[in-house]
Every structure is written in C-alpha cells, then in structure tokens.
C-alpha cells in the first residue's frame, strides 16, 4: 500500500471542499503518475475547477490529504505549490499579447545580472533559453524570440505557455481548457507540446470540455459529476462516445 502511493507523483485522498453550505467536491481521490497525461472531464459545476484549484494551492481542502512524491504536503497559497514544481496554465491568463516571446517566457521570473540596485536583464540568456525551449516544443515557425506573442496562433500560444511551465515547473502541469476555441490542427500543436512535456517525466492534468480532444491527448480520463469522481478510464479501453455518455449522465459503462 505504501509502495503503491509512493510511485505516484501526486495523489489526493478523499479530499472535500465546501463553500458555506455548498459542497464543491466531496471525498475525491485522484492521482497522477510521472509521465502520465490525465484528462479531467465533467459538466459545468461538476467540481473540475475546484479540484484543480485544490491541486495548485488556490484553495486548501476542508478534509482529506494531498501527497506529493509520497509525502503529505499542505499548500497555503499557489506560491507554495509552485515552489515544488506545480505549474498551472490558465487559458486566458497565460500570456501578454503585445510583449515579445522572451519577455512573456520569463515574466515575473526574469534572469538578471549585476549588483542591486543596478540589476539589469540578461536579455541574451533569456532569448536563447526561450527560443530553445520553444523549438523543442515544435514551435519551429518562430523566427526570433523578439517576435510579439500576438502574431502566434492559439495553439502556438498554448505551446509557449506549456514550454514555460515545463521549464520553470518540472513536476506537475495543470492545463485549464488548453484546446477550447482551437481548431483541430491547432489542437494537434497543443497535443504535441503536452506529449513532449510528458516525455521529460512531467505529470499532466488537462481540464477540457471537448471530449474528443481529451480522448485524443490523454492516457487516462477521470469523469466528475456533482463534486464526485464517478469514473476513471484508460483511453485505450473506451471511445470518446463512452466518455460523452458518462459526462451526460448516461452511465452505460
């Protein structure tokens, strides 16, 4: 039993979170292994967002336990979660369009040189790291790290946000709606980026409404309803339609 829990990167055990009288999630158990891509699906209000916000330290749970690499952890803020390498990519909160790629990549975590108070940016180092990480993510169309983010497509922007989270995080990546409003081709770019990130040993959790996309990208899909986990299926065992039925409340599995 002890062994089983320690080979998981991240594990929630019977976690409950209430908002006043409203039970947002109720004794939810959930885990992610290194290199695993887990999809989190469910109708609006099923508790997906709350679950992610418990995982990234935005909320602390009322009951239950969180283990990271087998050890119990307690996050008082998203910063605590970030410190151990849990990075969240919010769809509409990820990037600043008028800023260049490298400035976005290092926003809030700039590399500096020199003595205070005259610490200046190490631009060449940041340019090099940013473009290198983006090329690894398959963003080969990008010619320079000085290009502004607003010329990137939706899929490329997500790939940039994922590359950044991978570079700074390195253990668990939480993606909030990474493919919503994206075309199939753009979704492929996100999928590619997620698979490259997983290749380096990252655990990935994806919340998405588009079950087709989730089914295409993820190894395992967890279905939530009314604040509870009602199923966890391996992608290879089910079709996208099965999952849709479960989300819609037709439990045919």
């Amino acid at each position: 039993m002890e062994h089983a829990s320690s080979d998981k990167l991240f594990r929630l055990h019977e976690v409950t979170k209430n908002f006043g009288n409203l039970v947002a999630i109720q004794s939810v158990s959930f885990d992610v292994a290194r290199g695993e891509i887990v999809g989190l699906v469910g109708d609006n209000g099923a508790g997906k967002s709350t679950l992610v916000k418990v995982m990234n330290g935005f909320y602390s749970p009322d009951q239950g336990e969180i283990r990271f690499e087998g050890r119990p952890v307690r996050f008082n803020s998203p910063r605590d979660a970030r410190r151990i390498g849990i990075e969240t990519v919010y769809q509409d909160l990820a990037l600043i369009p008028p800023l260049s790629v490298w400035r976005n990549f290092f926003l809030g975590r700039e590399i500096k040189q020199g003595r205070p108070p005259f610490r200046i940016l190490s631009k060449s180092a940041m340019r090099e790291i940013a473009i290198g990480n983006l090329r690894e993510m398959g963003l080969t169309r990008l010619r320079s790290p000085d290009e502004p983010v607003d010329i990137l497509s939706g899929g490329e922007r997500q790939a940039l946000a994922i590359a950044r989270a991978r570079y700074f995080g390195g253990s668990l990546l939480l993606l909030d709606e990474p493919t919503s409003a994206l075309s199939v081709r753009e979704t492929e770019k996100v999928s590619e980026a997620v698979h490259i990130a997983r290749g380096g040993g990252l655990g990935v959790v994806i919340i998405d409404h588009n079950i087709g996309h989730v089914h295409r990208i993820c190894d395992r899909i967890v279905i939530m309803e009314f604040g509870r986990v009602i199923g966890s299926v391996r992608r290879d065992d089910v079709t996208a339609e099965h999952i849709s039925n479960m989300v819609a409340g037709r439990h045919t599995l």
Binding site: L95, L99, L107, I120, L121
Partner: protein
C-alpha cells in the same frame, strides 16, 4: 573564351548585387525601428518649417524648440510610462500648475527655505499621484474618470491658493537657475533640456533593461495575466501614477525656474498635450505599448511645430489646430509603418 567572358560578367555583377542587397538590408533595418513613425513625422515637419522660414535652423530657434520640448516632454514621459502600464492621468495639468504654486507660496510668501519648499512641493505631487492610484485601484473605477475628477479638484485648489494671482520671484537663486533659469554655456539653450534628456535616459533604461520595465509593459498589456504570473500589478501601477504626478510637478517647477513666475491658470491644456506626446510617440491607449524615445521625439516635434508656426508668421493661436492635425498624421504613420514592418517580416527588438 566564351566562358571567360561569362566569368567577367559574373564578377562585374557581383558587387552590384551585393550593394543592392546591402541597401535593401539597410532599408529593412529601418523598419525594425519602433519609433520610425514619429521619426518620419519629425523629419517631415522639420523640413517643412526649414523651407518656410530661414530662421528655423538657427541656435536661437533651437533654444526655443527645446524649451517647448521640455514643457511637453517631461510631463509627457510620465504620462507615457503610465499609459504603458494601462492607466491615464488627466490631473497632470493641475499638478503642473499647483505644485510650483505650493513651492512659490512657501518660499516667497512664507519665507520657508527654498529646498524645503521644493521638497514639500514634490512630496505633495507624489501624494496626489498616490491618491490617484489608490482611488483607481481600490474603487475599481477607470483612471480616466478618477483623474478627471482630481484634475478639476486640484485646479480649483490652485485658483483659491492665491486668489487667482501669480506668484513671481525677483532676484537670483541657484535653485531657479538649475531648473531652467540658466543657459548651457554661452548658448541660447536653457539647462532645462538636460533634465528632459536625463529623465528620458533613466526611464528608457528602466523600461527596456530591468524587470520592473517588463512588469510595467505586462501590467498594461494584460493586468490579470500579469498578476497570474506573479507580477505585483497594483504596486507597479501605483508607482507609475506617482511618477506621472511627480514629473508633472517637475515640469511646472522647470517652468517656474525658467520664467520666474508661477501662475494658477497655466498649462490648462497640458493633460491632452501629454497624451498626444505619448500617442504620437507610439503609445497605445489600450496599454502595453509605448516608447520613451518615441515620446521624446514627439515632444521635439511639438516644440518644432510651436516655434515653426511663430517663425512662419502664423499666430500661435493656431497651435492647437496643428497639434490635432499632427496627432492624426502621426498615428496613421505609426500604424502604417508597424503594419509594413510586420508584412516585410522585420522583427522589432524588445
């Protein structure tokens, strides 16, 4: 024989094509300049006035151009930084007239030490800026509205402070000389230009070379996203409000130093002119974009226009109309050059 001839032709062709490529490369690099739009405007307007008036290209005219550029520029730089951070400050005109009045009143009317009076006036400006920032951030009301309200309030305070009369200084004071009374060497150029250039260099360095600069652009580009990335957006914006107000007061004190008189009603159109400086310089009303070098050039363009109109025999009462025309003209060039460089695939360094 034939092959040799062909070789000779190829050799002759080589340097030609190389220089042509070099020329194209140079032209493309021109489009990489973020401030190209305002640079073109500056050259065009300078050329037109040089053509209209032979006195335009003299040191006396340069002194006049730079003196106006300081008045539009120092306050414009503060408004530019604030606009990059995504906020407005319409109260700069009121601060511009109120703070030198506070200084003059304490110093000349009440006999307070000049340095103390100066410090109090600047601290007062900083407090007004902080108030603008706190009201905007805490009440969640757009800064356009907040600073319109404070602009009206402080303009009224200015009028009532002296009953509408100016306060004049007769005599010699080093402080007045430092802030514009003196001229550089034996030229007709006021020392005030050194303040403008010095402030511009510092602000440009902060914006482009420091993490704080990155945060200022990010806060204006998308405040929510910047906050999600751990940028202290409210603190950054607050600092920019204080800067804008401080530089407005500074401009007013330079004006006081240059002319020896602080007037409650002066500079009432400065709030809009400062916005013109920021926008002509390449700033966006949506935040996240703007350039200190651009704003500096825009201030020089305004200075050239003012002096140029006078020298061309046109009444300065036409100045505002000219600024209106200039604003449209410069914004169109800015957009066109930016669009063209994107089309040409030229990358502007950030």
């Amino acid at each position: 024989m034939n092959g040799q001839g062909g070789q000779a032709i190829a050799d002759a062709a080589k340097p030609v094509s190389r220089t042509r490529r070099g020329g194209v490369w140079l032209l493309l690099q021109l489009f990489a300049i973020q401030e190209l739009g305002v640079l073109i405007a500056a050259i065009l307007i300078g050329a037109v006035f040089a053509f209209l008036s032979p006195e335009f290209l003299t040191t006396a005219s340069a002194g006049s151009i730079l003196a106006s550029a300081v008045q539009f520029g120092v306050v414009g730089l503060g408004v530019t930084v604030l606009m990059i951070a995504g906020e407005f400050d319409l109260s700069v005109a009121s601060v511009y007239s109120l703070c030198p009045l506070v200084m003059a009143s304490l110093w000349i009317v009440h006999g307070v030490n000049v340095f103390v009076a100066l410090a109090v006036a600047l601290a007062f400006a900083a407090a007004i800026g902080a108030l603008n920032g706190l009201a905007t951030l805490l009440l969640g009301i757009p800064s356009f509205i907040i600073t319109l309200a404070t602009a009206l309030f402080w303009a009224g305070v200015s009028l009532n402070l002296t009953g509408g009369y100016p306060i004049s200084f007769f005599g010699v004071s080093p402080v007045m000389s430092w802030f514009g009374g003196a001229e550089i060497g034996s030229s007709k150029i006021s020392v005030s230009i050194l303040w403008l250039v010095g402030i511009a260099v510092i602000l440009a360095a902060v914006l482009r070379l420091t993490a704080l600069g990155n945060w200022i652009f990010a806060s204006g580009g998308d405040g929510r996203a910047a906050r999600a990335m751990g940028v202290p957006v409210s603190a950054v914006k607050l600092a920019c409000f204080v800067l804008s107000s401080l530089l407005a007061a500074f401009t007013g004190i330079i004006q006081f130093g240059s002319f020896g008189s602080a007037t409650p009603t002066q500079g009432s159109d400065l709030a809009l002119t400062a916005l013109v400086v920021a926008v002509v310089g390449g700033g966006s009303l949506m935040g996240g974009r703007g350039s200190i070098i651009g704003a500096l050039l825009a201030a020089v363009v305004l200075g050239m226009s003012y002096t140029g109109l006078v020298l061309s025999g046109v009444s300065t009462t036409w100045f505002q109309s000219f600024v209106g025309f200039l604003l449209l003209f410069a914004v169109v060039i800015n957009l066109r050059t930016a669009g063209l460089s994107a089309k040409l695939g030229v990358i502007r360094k950030s």
